[in-house]
Amino acid sequence: MTEITRREFLKLGAAGTAGVALVPLANPLGFDLAAAKKRAVEMRIAGAKEVHSLCPYCAVGCALIAYTKEVNGKTQLLQIEGDPDSPVNEGRLCPKGAAAMQLATSSRRVDKPLYRAPGSKDWEPKSWDFMLDKLAQNIKASRDNSFVAQDANGNIVNRTEGVAFAGGAAFSSEEGYFATKVMRTLGIVHIEQQARV
């Protein structure tokens, strides 16, 4: 038997439902199998909420529909598929996008802040407060150490030479804008993103 896509399947299923009197002739799949497959699909996303997202990988910008469900007060991600209404991808996804759910629900996440002391052979789990306090002190110390208020020609330049920030091709634009604003305000001149590399 030839394989059919889920979308074709849904169409066929819908046609079958609409033309009950014509079954099984109007349904090349055979009625029983179709009903079983349709039920399986329905069960997976039955009662689920549709939420709109985007693919996290390349910059085609494929629109996604994510299906979620509240289970015991927790939002569970059931499925991700391409948004058929998008003028960009028209519902299609590549292997990476189609596997986006595995990135979203990865069991390999770093689950708490980790600190590695100078010379140490190990990570140590630490609290956010420990990390952010220590980092704030580092940033201030490095800024104060490397800050140039005036250059050799007497020009006001107000720059921090000893701290660099790089990132942002994978997070939202608004996060990136906020990063730029904070980093420039700290005087940072080495600020870079994936665009050049």
Partner: protein, 824 residues
């Protein structure tokens, strides 16, 4: 992209260079295939297009192309230059477009020259040009410029016959790019090149249109900037810029690389491509005078230059509201002024010199990205502290215990801050086509992970508290930064999106257009090119009127879908679209209109032009409103290595440059090691006889997918592609382990013996092989855990040279020399 993904279906010809969309952007590639195949549209309307793919490697893109050309990596200036020569020599350019829409008619001042591979003004000691001869001849009264500056009127010869007209200079420059010369540089056989030239030459007819699509296969070279400019020149000559189905289209490789370039996570700019101020600029007017384009024709609007100060002041008001006042130049002093280039490689260069104390890597892993991963690892080892913000471990978070590193010798303090995934927060992603699409939060943050922007806000708050308590160097901007959010430690992305758009401080209303921004401090705009994205009507990036109702949602039928998301600038879908219509405002091709003049207004796409400006009015603006000339620049003095693109060899090249062997490589390419007093580590053909290039596979995205089991299952192990003939010469069989080495490092991986790569013949009968290197593996991820013994030397960028493009300082990831040997 000047255009957008869906628009590619409107092309008659698609030139693909330095890109492999079928594998790297598979879903975008559907529009290429539709251009070729959609039978309902017919030629020119989305059917019958020809795809021409030039690439060292025969890929799935090549398989669907009408013509595949095996081109040597990094030689596309010669290829485009050859096409430019063919078009000029045979008068196949778009005559009216070239005359009125480009600077072909502008005269260049006497003294400009190009001799033996060098333009006039080169200084060998500093490896840089004095560009004072790369300017127009002027006449008449000076024209008023921004911030009280003036610029003289450029002299034009509308016959294009003057020997110093840009047109004649171009003709002369590219006369050297004969099919034989192109072939000897690129390796493309002459007959194949001629066949392409014939097809491309047809595209100068007004009712034909070609698009050029490229990716990092063009940018990752020491000549990257000029590689792209050479394509743009061809497009201007053919009259294809600004038109549906045309343009220069960069396929970008990360979900939001476009949005966060726009928002200036880039050393040389502020949001909206405003230049970072330079030392010596004391006032806003001095900054604008040095940064903004100036008019060189009375009919040039010079919109960007004219509004530069409005945009800059509105940015300063967004960042430092009350502290930014006319009396202090709107806090202009708060913006840091770099002395020298501070781009990606400079960070690690400074670290090697011991001048960089701390680095924050946010969703980027320096070790894998490179170039020259071993040198980057040394740089990271010299830092006092390193922060990794990522949901998953990276080769940078784990650098201190990487294979071959001794943790006890590394004094770098490392902070791993677990951040949320894209799906755990809302906000916009901007795709290659500049469409800013809003996503919703789907699931809550996992475990202890925090949003990136909340980490910045919290850290900033703690730093600010320290400055308040202890004082320190110039705390003023830190204390003054506007935090107009309900919770200053947890700003919402909705609040930030409103700030990016900007508002009128008198009325409190969101701005609707950047045309209304002011320099008097009464308006804000965090990024002027996004002004109009979040208006009193709401967040337009959230719109989703899609293809389920084309009659309603795509009123022009041109695939603009104006109510799907929002694209900058001002929801315009094709940039420079005034150039899609002739002088009278009629579309060059009525089947594929961008905008058109209906007698009272410009209709179609959002016009890149005043909506009611009659094109027949003698005072009507020239078509390209964003630059000083008002027309497309075939000749430009904004590049560091020449006003006209010239072919230079990669820093590591298999042959001397056939055009000028004594000036083989780009004379301005930046040699980081040499400039820092370290020895250059470049290889020569005697030890490293093979050309290498690097790329991505469909199943992986850079390095993050090493954590995705399904994708690792599809592409489990590091490998290199080796051409069959070379494998035979070397006794390498498919699956053998091989060592690929460069002057900087080595890679030990499996060999995939293939016919996708093959020998090519270059100048003087030199036979050259390419070796293909997928970039995705390192010492972190599922594969590495499964094959720890095999995975010790899997970093592709251990091989790449630490050298930067003459203009953008982009590393030369895509062309370098290696050797290969079987590991017995």
């Amino acid at each position: 992209m000047t255009n957008h993904w869906r628009d590619i279906k409107h092309a008659d010809v698609i030139l693909i260079n330095g890109a492999n969309p079928a594998e790297a952007h598979p879903v975008g590639f559907q529009w290429f295939v539709k251009a070729k195949l959609d039978p309902t549209k017919g030629p020119g309307g989305g059917g019958g297009a020809k795809i021409i793919h030039a690439d060292p490697r025969y890929t799935r893109t090549s398989a669907l192309a009408d013509m595949y050309l095996r081109i040597r990596t990094g030689t596309d200036v010669a290829y485009f230059g050859g096409l430019i020569n063919y078009v000029l020599r045979n008068n196949l350019y778009h005559e009216e477009y070239v005359r009125y829409y480009t600077n072909a008619s502008f005269l260049v001042k006497e003294g400009f020259a190009f001799t033996d591979g060098l333009f006039s003004g080169y200084d060998k000691a500093t490896r840089s040009y004095n560009t004072s001869t790369w300017v127009y001849e002027t006449e008449g009264d000076p024209l008023p410029g921004p911030a009280g500056t003036t610029q003289a009127h450029a002299k034009r010869d509308m016959t294009l016959g003057h020997p110093r007209s840009v047109f004649q200079l171009l003709k002369n420059h590219y006369a050297r790019y004969t099919p034989e010369m192109v072939s000897s540089i690129t390796g493309i056989p002459v007959d194949q090149f001629n066949a392409v030239a014939q097809i491309v030459g047809e595209m100068g007819k007004p009712d034909k249109v070609m698009t050029i699509v490229y990716a990092v296969g063009l940018t990752h070279h020491t000549t990257g900037g000029q590689l792209i400019r050479s394509g743009a020149l061809l497009q201007l000559l053919l009259g294809n810029m600004g038109r549906p189905g045309g343009g220069m289209n960069a396929e970008r490789g990360h979900a939001n690389i476009q949005g966060n370039t726009d928002h200036a996570i880039s050393w040389e700019i502020l949001p909206g491509y405003l230049r970072i101020p330079a030392p010596g600029q004391k006032t806003l007017d001095q900054y604008v005078a040095a940064s903004a384009a100036k008019k060189s024709d009375p009919n040039s609007w010079n919109f960007f230059g004219t509004n530069y100060k409005n945009f800059m002041v509105s940015l300063l008001k967004a960042w430092y509201r009350g502290a930014a006042q006319p009396a202090n130049e709107f806090a202009f002093d708060f913006i840091p002024k770099p002395a020298v280039n501070s781009s990606w490689m400079s960070i690690y260069d400074q670290a090697l010199k011991g001048k960089m104390e701390g680095v924050i890597l946010n969703g980027m892993t320096a070790t894998s990205i490179g170039p020259d991963s071993n040198q980057v690892l040394q740089g990271l080892s010299k830092l006092k502290w390193l922060v990794i913000m990522d949901p998953l471990p990276t080769t940078s978070s784990e650098f201190w215990h990487a294979p071959g590193m001794d943790p006890s010798n590394i004094q770098t303090e490392v902070f791993m801050l677990p951040t949320t995934h894209w799906i755990e927060k809302d906000g916009s992603f901007v795709n290659s086509g500049r469409w800013s699409q809003w996503k919703e939060q789907v699931i809550p943050p996992e475990g202890d992970a925090r949003h990136d922007h909340w980490i910045f806000a919290d850290l900033f708050d703690r730093v600010k508290t320290l400055y308040r308590q202890q004082g320190g160097k110039f705390p003023d901007p830190i204390l003054a930064m506007t935090l107009d959010y309900a919770d200053t430690k947890k700003p919402t992305l909705d609040e930030i999106a409103r700030e990016v758009n900007g508002k009128d401080l008198n009325t409190g209303l969101q701005m609707t257009s950047f045309a209304n921004l002011k320099a008097d401090g009464t308006t804000t705009a965090g990024d002027w090119i996004y002004t109009g994205s979040y208006t009193p009507a709401g967040n337009l990036m959230k719109r989703r009127s899609g293809i389920s109702d084309p009659a309603k949602n795509d009123p022009t039928g041109m695939g603009f879908y104006p109510n799907w998301a929002w694209s900058w600038p001002l929801n315009r879908r094709v940039m420079y679209n005034r150039a899609s219509a002739d002088l009278a405002g009629k579309p060059w091709d009525p089947k594929r209109p961008g905008i058109q003049w209906n007698g009272t207004a410009w209709v179609g796409d959002v016009p890149d032009y005043p909506v009611n400006m009659d094109p027949k009015d003698p005072a009507a603006w020239l078509p390209f409103i964003m630059n000083g000339e008002g027309v497309g620049r075939l000749f430009s003095n904004s590049m560091n290595d020449g006003p006209i693109p010239e072919h230079y060899e990669p820093i590591e090249a298999p042959i001397p440059n056939p055009l000028h062997p004594n000036q083989s490589e780009d004379p301005v390419a930046f040699l980081y090691d040499q400039a820092a007093g370290r020895p250059n580590r470049f290889g020569k053909v005697d030890k490293y006889p093979y050309v290498a290039t690097s790329y991505r596979l469909t199943e992986h995205e850079h390095y993050v997918t090493q954590h995705v089991p399904l994708l690792v299952g599809l592409q489990p192990q590091a490998f290199v592609e080796v051409p069959q003939e070379l494998a035979d010469e070397k006794g390498i069989k498919n699956g053998d382990r091989v060592r690929v080495s460069s002057e900087r490092g080595k890679l030990e991986v499996a060999a995939l013996v293939t016919k996708r790569l093959g020998p090519m013949t270059l100048a003087g009968n030199t036979k050259v092989y390419h070796i293909g290197i997928p970039i995705h593996w390192g010492f972190v991820g599922i594969s590495t855990e499964r094959y720890p013994e095999l995975a010790k030397n899997w970093l592709a960028n251990a091989l790449t040279p630490f050298v930067g493009d003459a203009n953008a300082r982009t590393p030369e990831f895509k062309a370098f020399l290696v050797n290969i040997e079987k590991i017995s």
